[in-house]
């Protein structure tokens, strides 16, 4: 099979993994040692697909052959799809070639499980080791870790990779038993725990980024281990879990394994799906709302129980912060010149950056209505919820905002499929 055909199959099979992030690596370059590549603190999206998703990494499977038969997975054993397997050298060459064209930040390598977890993991590590040791590659490497691979292999993977991830797959252990009978939640979490403890021991969590480009490395306390930490992915809408259950699982994972990110992937029906799976795709909007909620939980001081509706779901109609504000009118209006930072962060339309600019501005003088435009704040969304010396919301302003948003959403839904 020629390389282009393999690439078609094995990139096609990798597109269900949502993450393409290349952030969080320690800053490093290759100028002094004739290697190839560098990483910045924040990643770079080199392209975007027509699905609106960032393309930052060469995201491929080593192989889409798989011994497991997970119902939701297009590569399951019983699936009737074309199969392929890359040679280690082929992935290495593709990564280096794409990198030199400046179309990627690095490699995201995942795989179907062949022979067993350890064998598969060893093959993946061989790719990363070749890139690092034979080719002096300093770009980003994300390795998907196979649950139940031996701890020794997890540690070796972390020596070469910037990020490791194990997919939690489904929000509850029961769903995993039903849809992926050969996987068990215990093994997934055991692997996550191994990554966390190796990461803790390496001191990566507290290691400071080097301040000067190409400065000599500081003496290290322990071998490097996945400096960009670990992440996971959860499929949304393949089982009946509520948003509340999903967010609870995320919160538990963030704290137990110090995850950098939980990715949510809206279930989309796969070709020749087995019975027992929904025939409908989960709305992409639901996935989007989960990301917004995840953000509010981690950076805005919200709790899970506050932002879901009584039925345990997030509002699809409006973002979770606005939904919370509409459901809690007693917290508003907020005085922009007096409210605490925590209160400001709960005002719809105010992000972390605008809150910081408001706080800095009001130290100099009182904030007025016109200042909001100057600070590029989403005025229409903010005004129903705030008081200023020359502005006070009228009764029903929030209701009118909601009606306006409904109308705008109908218009953009029509627009979503427009090409230009």
């Amino acid at each position: 099979m020629d390389i282009q055909r393999k690439l078609g199959i094995l990139a096609g099979a990798a597109k269900y993994d949502a993450s393409c992030a290349s952030s969080g690596a320690t800053r490093r370059g290759s100028i002094t040692d004739k290697g190839l590549g560098s990483t910045e603190r924040s990643g770079i999206c080199h392209s975007f697909g027509p699905d609106g998703r960032c393309i930052s990494l060469l995201k491929v499977l080593l192989t889409n052959w798989c011994v497991y038969d997970c119902q939701y997975c297009v590569n399951r054993r019983s699936s009737d799809i074309p199969r392929a397997r890359f040679q280690i050298e082929e992935i290495v060459r593709l990564t280096l070639d794409f990198y030199r064209r400046n179309v990627i930040e690095g490699l995201f390598l995942s795989s179907g499980v062949i022979r067993g977890p350890d064998y598969t993991m060893e093959q993946m590590i061989a790719v990363a080791r070749s890139l690092r040791e034979q080719h002096g590659f300093r770009g980003y490497i994300h390795l998907k870790t196979i649950p139940n691979a031996s701890e020794e292999l997890v540690r070796r993977a972390g020596r070469y990779a910037d990020r490791l991830s194990v997919n939690i797959e489904l929000p509850t252990a029961e769903s995993l038993t039903r849809l992926a009978p050969e996987k068990e939640a215990g093994a997934i979490k055991r692997t996550m725990a191994q990554i966390r403890s190796a990461h803790d021991e390496s001191g990566e969590a507290t290691r400071k980024p080097r301040s000067l480009p190409d400065a000599p490395p500081k003496p290290q306390r322990a071998p490097r281990f996945a400096p960009a930490g670990q992440s996971t992915q959860m499929i949304v809408g393949a089982d009946g879990s509520s948003d509340r259950a999903i967010l609870d699982t995320s919160a538990a994972l963030y704290s137990a394994y110090r995850l950098k990110r939980v990715y949510y992937s809206a279930f989309s029906p796969i070709p020749r799906a087995p019975p027992g799976l929904p025939v409908q795709a989960a709305p992409l909007l639901r996935e989007h709302r989960l990301y917004q909620a995840d953000w509010l939980l981690r950076f805005y001081g919200f709790g899970q129980d506050e932002i879901v509706m009584p039925d345990g779901m997030l509002s699809l109609e409006v973002d979770p912060k606005l939904a919370w504000a509409l459901a809690n009118p007693s917290h508003f209006p907020v005085d922009l010149n007096r409210a605490s930072k925590q209160q400001l962060l709960r005002v719809p339309g105010l992000g972390i950056r605008s809150v910081e600019r408001l706080l800095a501005g009001r130290r100099v003088r009182g904030i007025r209505r016109g200042d909001l435009d100057r600070l590029s704040i989403a005025v229409a969304k903010v005004l129903p919820f705030v008081v200023l010396p020359d502005h006070r919301p009228r009764d029903g302003d929030a209701r009118r905002l909601l009606a306006g948003l409904r109308q705008a959403r109908r218009a953009t839904q029509l627009d979503l499929f427009a090409e230009s």
Binding site: L7, A14, P50, G52, R53, F98, G361
Partner: protein, 257 residues
């Protein structure tokens, strides 16, 4: 006092600009008496009536201390394409000289304008790192060179060069742009004249693999052209080889549904 016309060597002549600013502040020349222009022969006639000085010839006074946070913003805003940046920058320095507290006010209109300019410049720098596309060319001696054509909106090329050196230090590469070209031979960076798109090579054989990847990683069940355009503005598409297949991919989806 008559107006003074100060000539900068180029769009990116930060050194000349800061030397002139130190001189002008030292002499107490108010912003409305200064005209900034570039050493471009086409512009001379416009300003003949005023007294003219080359920025780098002005005897600068030492000891102009400005807040570090201002200098960070100013260095980026200086690379903005708007000619007004010179006036805004000098006016801001003048006003900081009158009252240092002015730079502490995040609502000050000059500060807001400079911050906006610096954000636009920083974003353009980021996009240059993302969207430069190298193509391989092998010369008669068998040596490989990677060549790219890029059209930035602001004067950022020299400022982004260190990124490409750090990343591709062992490669020989050239980035051609309309205003300026930069070339790295593995040890020295040279800055040369601007170029034309036709100076850059056409697609090489290996590019087909990148295009194949771009087409396979797209998930048609998630078509979202609006989000794509937000992440990858249309004005860059003409220099992105993969952009040619966007229409086909998106249409293929619409027809199936």
């Amino acid at each position: 006092m008559n107006a003074l016309t100060v000539t900068l060597l180029s769009e990116t002549d930060w050194e000349g600009f800061s030397q002139a600013v130190r001189f002008l502040i030292g002499q107490g020349v108010p912003p409305n008496r200064v005209i900034w222009r570039l050493a471009d022969p086409r512009e001379i006639e416009l300003f003949e009536a005023t007294e003219t000085a080359a920025a780098r010839d002005l005897p600068a006074k030492a000891g102009l201390y400005l807040p570090a946070s201002f200098v960070d913003v100013a260095r980026l805003a200086f690379l903005h394409k708007a000619r007004a940046r010179f006036d805004v920058l000098y006016r801001t320095v003048w006003r900081i000289g009158e009252n240092r507290q002015r730079w502490q006010n995040p609502l000050d209109p000059d500060r807001l304008q400079l911050e906006q300019m610096s954000r636009q410049v920083r974003r353009e720098m980021h996009w240059m790192k993302a969207f430069v596309r190298f193509r391989r060319r092998v010369d008669a001696a068998g040596k490989q060179r990677y060549i790219a054509w890029f059209e930035p909106q602001h004067h950022i090329v020299e400022a982004v060069a260190p990124f490409f050196i750090r990343r591709f230090g062992a490669m020989r590469w050239v980035i051609l742009t309309p205003r300026v070209s930069i070339a790295w031979d593995g040890g020295v960076l040279s800055v040369g004249a601007g170029a034309k798109k036709a100076d850059a090579p056409p697609a090489d054989a290996g590019e087909a693999l990148w295009l194949a990847y771009y087409q396979s990683i797209f998930n048609p069940a998630r078509l979202n052209v609006r989000a794509m355009k937000k992440g990858m503005p249309v004005r860059y598409w003409s220099n992105l080889p993969e952009a040619a297949s966007i229409g086909l991919l998106a249409r293929g989806y619409s027809e199936k549904n």
